[in-house]
């Protein structure tokens, strides 16, 4: 009986990859531990090892093939004594929804956000100042962030990046890919696994005249460093009567990844949003990722920059401009509507846009506001929208209590109470640590249907 070797999922977020190179050929004998092929994932180039002994039968996916779905049979291995004739037609690559074991789980595969939302994104370019006729370049969010850092490092020699695996490894999520090659080890600094210490060193370097970008492999690990972010970075300008500056960007992936459990899936938006002296940015699309990160690096204040691990691989349009800056503190109307306002940030914007499509089919016109910056929060944009729609749903991926939605709902009630036709509604993660089991994880995270239900609720359309 031949053994089917499938395209493996080599990271929690990988759905497909490029088969860059075969390291064996048909007829080769292999044993457990032998390298079979090189695969480029969304994070890195990795090698696939043989687990079983046998003879390489048929290679089913040619070298250089891109977008090979996880689960696709790439090679059939013959057991001793078998001939090629035993090979049967390989099973078809399963669709992500049907994938039995690897990482892409239902909560991910059920959210085809970027494809569906791109149209809405492009239809409302009113608040981004992009000259007419500017070409758009399809860019992954990962590369948009990288380009932002590279451009700012070229522009200002004081800008450098430090963090775990940012240099030789090219970034745990490949966000710092090739920066080491361009800027050298003096400006792309690998740190030991010591968040508390290197966050403090970053703060000191900022006070000493540099413009550090401190990458946390995830914001979950920044809990070790939160004292320096808040006590040392955010408060110093005030405590010094305006003398001591701390221009620094703390960045990294935030929020729920996929099947990584409670300690690696925490959304810190509301934590940092609570602190005066910080700016807190959470972009949704690639253009904002680039334009806001460039603004963050130039900002004279400490900026917490929250990326979304599940979105690094999303490919979206980025304006082909020399210096594309998106101002911090300005929300963006991603979709114009008249019946209900939906606020969201980061990945939740995609859910909100998806919900707006569904609502449109049911005759409800939703206006979607991408907050983009959590602190300072663009209250004006929200209030203006609510005065038009008279209803609001505040959606976020984090927990509800003391959350971003709680804050927005309060501001709306304080500033536009008489305009409301229904109490503000909130959509948020269930009030439990994020579970590991795929079904429970999907149940605990808010999705487009939750937003739809909340919107119908405030429209009394249930």
């Amino acid at each position: 009986m031949s053994i089917d070797i499938q395209m493996p999922a080599l990271s929690p977020t990988m759905e497909e990859g490029t088969l860059t190179k075969w390291l064996v050929k048909e007829g080769d004998s292999v044993k457990s531990g032998d390298m079979l092929a090189e695969i480029e994932t969304d994070k890195a180039t990795m090698e696939v090892e043989a687990i079983d002994e046998g003879v390489v039968g048929k290679i089913l996916v040619a070298e250089g093939t891109q977008n090979v779905a996880v689960g696709t049979v790439i090679l059939q291995l013959l057991e001793d004594g078998e001939g090629l004739d035993v090979l049967s037609a390989p099973i078809e690559a399963p669709t992500p929804d049907a994938t039995p074991k690897p990482a892409p789980v239902s909560s991910v595969s059920s959210t085809p956000e970027p494809e569906q939302s791109t149209a809405s994104v492009q239809s409302v370019p009113t608040e981004i100042e992009v000259p007419a006729g500017t070409a758009m370049v399809e860019t992954s969010i990962r590369d948009a962030l990288r380009d932002a850092m590279a451009e700012e490092m070229r522009r200002d020699e004081r800008v450098f990046i430090m963090g775990e695996e940012v240099a030789e490894y090219q970034g745990a999520y490949k966000v710092t890919r090739e920066l080491l090659q361009e800027f050298g080890e003096g400006r792309v600094i690998d740190t030991p696994i010591t968040e508390h210490g290197f966050a403090g060193i970053g703060v000191g370097a900022a006070m000493g005249g540099l413009r550090p970008i401190v990458e946390f492999m995830t914001w979950n690990f920044a809990m070790q460093a939160i004292d320096h972010i808040i006590n040392s970075a955010a408060k110093t300008l005030y405590m010094s009567g305006g003398q001591m500056r701390c221009p620094i960007v703390f960045r990294g992936p935030n929020g729920a990844a996929s099947r990584v459990g409670a300690q690696h899936s925490h959304d810190y938006s509301s934590w940092y949003a609570n602190v005066p002296g910080l700016k807190v940015v959470a972009p949704y699309d690639a253009a904002d990722a680039k334009g806001l990160l460039k603004s963050a690096i130039r900002d004279p204040n400490p900026v917490v920059f929250l990326e979304h691990e599940m979105m690094y691989g999303e490919i979206m349009d980025v304006p082909d401009m020399d210096d594309y800056l998106v101002p911090i503190g300005k929300a963006l109307v991603r979709r114009v509507g008249s019946d209900v306002t939906i606020t969201a940030h980061s990945r939740m914007v995609g859910r909100a846009l998806e919900a707006a499509d569904i609502l449109a089919d049911e005759g409800i016109s939703a206006e979607v506001i991408d907050l983009r910056t959590i602190r300072p929060l663009d209250s004006d944009a929200i209030i203006k929208s609510v005065k038009k729609t008279n209803r609001i749903v505040c959606a976020e991926e984090g927990w509800g209590q003391s959350g971003i939605g709680a804050e927005i709902a309060t501001r709306v009630m304080e500033q536009a109470f008489d305009y409301l036709d229904a109490p503000p509604a909130r959509v948020f993660q269930k009030d439990v640590p994020l579970p590991y089991a795929g079904n429970l994880e999907a149940l605990s995270l808010p999705n487009a249907q939750d937003v739809v239900a909340a919107a119908k609720g405030v429209c009394y359309a249930n």
């Binding site: 508390h196 060193i201 703060v203 370097a205 010094s240 009567g241």
Partner: protein, 334 residues
């Protein structure tokens, strides 16, 4: 003193230098005594950590470093600021929470800074200044500006994890930073023997390859000489060093500390036998570089400076209410 410590012959000095060091230490002592009084009168609030007894440490370090080198320390910071030449009036007015203070009254005793005088705070979280100080070293190396950073922390902070994270990276990257442990024997009220398994703090960097030296921190000239060597080491690209300054604070941890954890005799023994200012005074008299009248004149000068600082700190207005919302964020483009 332990293995790595040195007992050099009587350190070299001269009349001018020693008189200068005497003045510097006396200013800190008189300033702190006055701050203690003002605290008792209710003019200074909150926490107030006095440096009395430890004057030789910062004074000796300052005598050994160069113009432009940075200092950063904990909340026991008044002495460091005075040593660096920040004005006594500006510091005292910050203690009283007035607009003329270094932080316009918004920082208080524990939070003052001076970019001009290379003082980087004034940090209230025990040990936090240590990686920040290493970060100043990183900036110096990055900018290749020839400066070193000096980081002061106590025997209490020496048990904080982030200190070791900083030591590791400082040695790994050969940062021009001196880690100066002011071992005053008490972490708040817990004596070093009750808090610390291995009490030779100068050895704390050994597993990272950071050299350490134990120094008599009550002897300003010993501090100066040890710091000079260590500064040359750091400045030459060899990386950081640890200096463990053996010192003693006469007062409680903060003004609200009754110091029940040690005997009155322990304190008076140090005051009478090892006082850093008396040691210098005695040498000045012995070398005939000053007589009692000359020293009295210096004392009078210092008292006048402190009196002026107190007057300023009392009369400088409280910050304008409009200051409540300033200095939270800088304007973009500034």
């Amino acid at each position: 003193m332990a293995a790595k410590s040195q007992k050099p012959p009587k350190p070299q000095t001269n009349k001018k230098e020693l008189l200068h060091l005497y003045r510097e230490m006396l200013l800190i002592r008189r300033f702190e005594e006055k701050a203690g009084q003002l605290y008792g009168m209710g003019l200074i609030a909150g926490f107030c950590h006095l440096y009395i007894g430890q004057e030789a440490v910062v004074t000796g370090v300052n005598a050994a470093i160069k113009e432009g080198d940075q200092m950063i320390t904990s909340y026991r910071d008044h002495g460091h600021m005075l040593a660096l030449g920040m004005s006594a009036s500006g510091v005292m007015a910050e203690l009283t929470g007035r607009s003329g203070g270094y932080s316009k009254g918004k920082g208080g005793s524990m939070h003052m800074f001076s970019v001009e005088k290379n003082f980087y705070g004034g940090h209230g979280i025990v040990g936090a200044q240590v990686p920040i100080g290493a970060g100043l070293g990183l900036a110096n190396k990055y900018l290749n500006n020839g400066k070193i950073s000096t980081v002061f922390f106590g025997d209490g902070a020496a048990n904080q994890g982030q200190v070791y994270e900083a030591l590791n990276m400082a040695q790994l990257w050969k940062l021009p930073t001196l880690f100066i442990i002011e071992n005053n024997q008490y972490a708040m009220g817990t004596s070093i023997s009750r808090s610390t398994a291995q009490k030779d703090l100068y050895k704390r960097g050994l597993s990272f390859g950071v050299e350490g030296v134990q120094v008599d921190g009550m002897d300003v000239l010993a501090v100066r000489d040890a710091t000079k060597k260590a500064a040359a080491h750091a400045r030459s690209g060899k990386g950081p060093m640890i200096l463990e300054m053996m010192t003693y604070r006469y007062r409680g941890h903060s003004m609200s500390d009754p110091a029940k954890y040690r005997t009155r005799e322990e304190v008076s023994e140090i005051r009478e036998e090892h006082d850093p200012i008396d040691m210098v005074k005695n040498r000045l008299l012995k070398e005939k570089w000053a007589d009692l009248d000359a020293l009295k004149a210096i004392d009078k000068d210092i008292k006048a400076i402190v009196a002026e600082a107190v007057e300023f700190a009392k009369t400088s207005p409280e910050p304008d209410p409009s200051e409540l919302y300033t200095d939270v964020l800088l304007e973009v483009g500034t």
